[in-house]
Symmetry: C2
Subunit: 740 residues, 2 copies
């Protein structure tokens, strides 16, 4: 049983490590040599270039300006300064809304924490149940427990306070959630309306085109849409299975990297040509001249690529029965995406096309039938998923007993990749949906393996088997009883994972090391240096489930052990500042789903809320307050009704594109640009990226994206002056001006 002193020591250690991380970051970010690690977003947007001004050579690598060290905490107000609309323009709506999850945590838990400390803590504290039971049974207890519900005597009338508080917390949470859902839905519609023209606004993905003996897929698609959407059909692009080609190109790129490495090595030390072994990972096999070997390999691959490119274009086996169909108007596309086309509901399936850069091309080549099977397998996997995770826990405790914790740590590190692979196997078509799916899985894993297992293992692990076989209404009781006892454990967890962990995030230790390694071994040109940057992204698939764990802890402990709440609040505030800084300066989001993830976020908070209500019910029923059960059962019912209401009221904004909006934008556009050549604009929008690079360099695709960004209203980029002047952003670039 931890006392305030123990908690204090743990807090001290964790605060110290958090401060160390933050100071290290503050120091490292001021060094020009690390500029590309800590401000890659600005480089990618073309608003910042490599330092070129003359001066002391060393100042290219080390910051010699002492004054700047005095202002080392400046990044905090800088991160908070950029207003939300500019943030949306700068980093996209996904990122801006992602930050609102942290804000939502602050909004929910500030009043909850205040109320709990003002009312529940005194009510809990002014009892002496624990003191008595210590005297009688020699049960030890901690000061933390004195603040929790455990200190209320059996059958006390004081439990009414907790019930009233549970109601208050539920209403406040729902109220905040509703407001937030409404705000995000409005932001999404606003964003979609104000956005520049994008190919996906006009395009629908059609799948399962039925085979036709007389017509090719392309002809079949064209005829079908000319007949059934005669006034709206514009053009289409058949989906091609170019997975092998993409693989070859990737391989060639890797060989090219090795060639660059060897050439650089040779240029630095011309005395001896580098050699390499041809076998597995260069560990054994014949020893050859590395540069010659890689050059010949590249030639071989170039030839294979050319052949494969020809084959893909002509071989009918590579043509999938799917196509991106573009329409003359947003209205036409909205109609096609939302309606059923054919009397056989498994053919001519239409859905909105994702943004070209959001598409996960590899899965497009999966035939629809096998996709259904894959999904079904996915479903069947889901049922025993929980069980497997629990079994896995047995293995875990076994491993913990015999092997060092490092293996568990490695497992936890690779887990997101495993989950992502599972989602990829299920055949989702866009990166955004892949990440959303993985997030759900990771959330379940977190819930079971971090939350449940921690709660039960610490108190009644030996009863796990009986727990699995006991009656359903016993489970909330078992968990409920265990919850207050685990408060100190979770406080420590929050400090390690939520405080020190978040502070570590801003340090970017891994990208820092990798950047300097690459910079030393591979970088020859400015372009190479740009590629060596690894800005990363929000990582919705792991980031969001992590936040959700804190929502869960906060809601579960709010009425039980309010001591936990301030720790959670510190996490939300710290994480908000850190991730706002990262989103502004570092992350480069791969796609823009216009906050399509919000229904998931909302739903998970709701499920955490319902879980917390059930647990409280179970706990109180063991505390001689069984008469409270009928009053508490109302809460989940109300919460579920609330969720149904929200789903009906706000979710359509995330699923459909209202015709009214589509028509409005069409009309506006027609008035503004009467001579727009939409067909030319859409013709090649959905060509597989491997064909896009046919003529130009690999930058082609990025450039296109940049052009589009450039046209944007909110982001004042200056592409002409790229790499020359570090252009000032409107408000937030004070920190970036400090450096060169």
């Amino acid at each position: 049983m931890a006392t305030f002193g123990d908690i204090g020591v743990a807090a001290g250690i964790n605060i110290l490590s958090a401060v160390v991380f933050l100071v290290a970051f503050a120091f490292l970010r001021l060094q020009p040599i690390n500029d590309r690690v800590y401000f890659p977003k600005w480089y990618l947007m073309g608003l910042r270039g490599s330092p070129t001004h003359s001066g002391v050579y060393v100042s290219k690598f080390v910051n010699l300006d002492c004054r700047s060290y005095l202002r080392f905490l400046n990044w905090v107000p800088d991160a908070l300064r950029m207003p939300e609309p500019e943030l949306i323009g700068h980093a996209g709506l996904d990122s801006a809304v992602y930050l609102r999850i942290y804000l939502l945590g602050i909004k929910i838990f500030v009043p909850v924490a205040l109320l709990a400390w003002a009312i529940l803590v005194p009510v809990n504290w002014t009892n002496n149940t624990l003191a008595i039971s210590e005297a009688l049974d020699k049960l030890e207890y901690s000061d933390i427990d004195k603040l929790s519900i455990s200190n209320i005597p059996y059958g006390s009338k004081r439990f009414w306070t907790h019930i009233v508080m549970a109601y208050t917390f539920t209403f406040w949470t729902c109220y905040t959630l509703r407001k937030e859902y409404a705000a995000v839905a409005a932001m999404r519609l606003q964003f979609l309306a104000s956005e520049r023209r994008r190919p996906d606004q006009f395009t629908v993905l059609v799948r399962n085109v039925p085979p036709d003996l007389d017509e090719s897929v392309s002809e079949s698609v064209e005829h079908f849409f000319l007949v059934n959407h005669p006034k709206h059909y514009l053009t289409h692009q058949v989906v091609i299975n170019a997975n092998k080609l993409a693989k070859l190109i990737k391989e060639k790129k890797s060989k090219q990297n090795w060639l660059d490495y060897y050439q650089l090595k040779y240029s630095r030390n011309q005395s001896r040509r580098p050699t390499a072994k041809t076998g597995f990972f260069g560990l054994w096999g014949e020893k050859v001249d590395a540069i010659d070997h890689q050059t010949s390999e590249i030639q071989r691959l170039s030839k294979a690529i050319d052949e494969e490119r020809e084959r893909v274009k002509t071989d009918p086996k590579c043509i999938m029965p799917a196509a991106f169909v573009s329409f003359k108007s947003r209205w036409g596309a909205a109609v096609c995406a939302q309606t059923q086309q054919s009397r056989n509901p498994t053919t001519w399936l239409t859905e909105w096309a994702s943004e070209p850069r959001d598409i996960y091309w590899k899965n497009l080549a999966i035939p629809y039938v096998s996709l259904t099977v894959r999904r079904l397998l996915g479903i069947e996997k889901k049922a025993p998923f929980l069980k497997r995770v629990i079994e896995l826990h047995f293995i875990k405790s076994f491993i913990q007993g015999f092997l060092p914790g490092i293996i568990l740590k490695i497992f936890l590190l690779v887990l997101p990749s495993i989950l992502m692979m599972m989602s990829k196997f299920e055949g989702f078509l866009s990166i955004s949906s892949l990440e959303r799916r993985s997030a759900l899985r990771y959330y379940i894993f977190n819930f079971v393996n971090v939350f449940l297992v921690s709660v039960i293992a610490g108190t009644a692990f030996q009863q796990l088997n009986s727990f699995l076989h006991q009656s359903a209404n016993e489970i909330p009781k078992t968990i409920g009883v265990a919850i207050p006892m685990k408060a100190t454990f979770f406080i420590t967890y929050i400090m390690i994972d939520g405080w020190a962990g978040v502070a570590g995030e801003i340090l970017r230790l891994k990208p820092l090391i990798f950047f300097h390694l690459r910079n030393f071994f591979l970088v020859k040109t400015e372009k190479d240096r740009e590629e060596a940057m690894d800005p990363g992204s929000i990582g919705f698939d792991t980031g969001e489930p992590r936040i959700q764990l804190y929502f869960l802890l906060g809601l579960v402990y709010a009425a039980v052990t309010p001591v936990l709440l301030p720790f959670i609040l510190v996490f939300f505030v710290l994480a908000y500042v850190v991730f706002r800084h990262q989103i502004i300066n570092v992350y480069n989001q791969q796609y823009e789903s216009a906050a399509a993830f919000w229904p998931d976020v909302h739903g998970r908070i709701i499920s955490a809320l319902i879980f917390s209500q059930l647990i409280l019910m179970g706990l109180l029923s063991t505390k001689g307050a069984a008469q409270s059960t009928p009053i508490l059962i109302v809460l989940p019912v109300l919460t579920i009704s609330f969720q149904r209401y929200c789903k009906a009221r706000y979710e359509p904004a995330f699923v459909f594109y209202p015709l009214q909006e589509a028509m409005m934008r069409d009309t506006l556009e027609r008035a503004r640009e009467p001579n727009l050549n939409l067909k030319a604009y859409l013709q090649n929008a959905y060509v597989h990226p491997v064909f896009k690079n046919d003529e130009g360099d690999d930058d082609d695709f990025d450039d296109k994206y940049n052009e589009k960004l450039e046209e944007g209203v909110l982001v004042p980029t200056k592409r002409q002056s790229r790499r020359n002047t570090p252009a000032p952003s409107k408000t937030s670039s004070t920190s970036s001006q400090d450096c060169p």
Copy 2:
């Protein structure tokens, strides 16, 4: 414990009463005076008129042709002779598909019964568990039980037979269900495609039109659709709250009936003018001259109706924020019905309009907001519904103890009306959806109150309370153990409800009596006589749940006590013949939903199947075959996957109208009738029926329907010769030719 002898006696009694009913029917239907009771459908279609040929006066009432009595069972082949396509033309798709439910029962249970008798019965019979336990414990057992699973010893290897059979039955049921779903979906699409032009193909119901300060609802609707569906919008009809007016008209009609009655009475006995009391139901109050009183009442109501009609047309309070919007093409309507219109998903809600005659006008006047509240109340009602029904069972057993069964019988009689009222309260907009909703409720009631309560009450009623509090996985065991013991009870139930009850249905005792009463007291003109007919309809809300109970019994007992199966088969065959006869000759379906109910039917059979699998699992786990549980758990998982597959594959045909179909029909129509004035056709299609009767008589609406029928291809009606010649139907009117 019933023996074969007991069952034989019960069977004898029930077969006897069934035969009595059938003979009585065969006799009564041949009397010309009952012609309108047993063949109303033909009268309503205008294919049969009152007997007008000269001859002996008495032959107008009594059939004197002895030969026709010899062929009294002729109605059976007659009922079976009409081919399905003609049946669809004659009675609509709903009726034809409704009959397929019985056919489905036959298709499922014939092979199941054969297999069970060939394999399971010998396996069960060749044990002596029951004989031994009789010798040891003096437990009585019946011969029926010797054929059931109870006769297999504890832990026997023979249970594998039952497991294999459970798999076989599941696969066979699913196979048949899938085939049937596919067939019905195809029939529905075929029907929708071959149907003549109907207003609902072009019309969408728009609800929750947002209030506008500057525009009336009508203007607002027109502008919105002119802007957002510019190429497709044609016209619209605002929904008017005319409930008060409809009530007044109904009241006037009732007074008119009384007036007719008194006039007829006076004309028969001119010696004394009839009098009546003005009070409650004519039981007390001032005594007045009945004819004068009713005449003045009618005059008062006529005036009130005229005033109300004016008020409704002008008062803005009577105009609901809803409208029927018609489009220029089916394509336009299909698009509008399937898409979201506005960014606020709670305004401008669109859905397909039902057929005009299917619309439940009264609920159209409910504002959408209050509708949501009503639905929510409906949902909250659903949760404690089961509990209430169980409580109701306590009341029931209480009543049974003290009051005669007649009160329970009355309760069961009024139950469908109560359920229908609940559905009406929930605000469904069409009669078909009201009936579907009531059917669901009635099914749940049947399941709990007839099935579960019978099973548990007979064996462990005193344990009901503990049953409610026991762990979830104990429930299948408790029910499973009780199931074999109740086989004889259900056999008797099937014979009473399923054999005698169905045979009673064909006799139409209630309509027979009512028709003659009305005929005597009210009928003056041919039109009155037509109104005095009460053809009734299928009654989906009570009929379908009743069939479902037999599916449930059949599936549950198939692997447990196969003796039950032949009894169920007899029910299905008998009911099929009887209802086919009734549908051809009697029922007059009020609406045509194109078999929209099939997904419900399918879903309920699936849930019965899953229930039967769980029960078998529970039963076997108490029989020392616990190792079978993992093998049996696969079955519900497979069945649920199958249900998901069916839902994805076939349900869209019942929900959406594919654009391809819509476009095809539009194109065809445009080619055939290039000068069609669609606007004139649709202008008044969705006017409230009370306004339709403004000019013409009440027949107006029916006539319109008949006109539409007349245009049909499949039904060869001859309206010109109506009321004159009893026109022969293609094949099925041999019986009707016998009579005049």
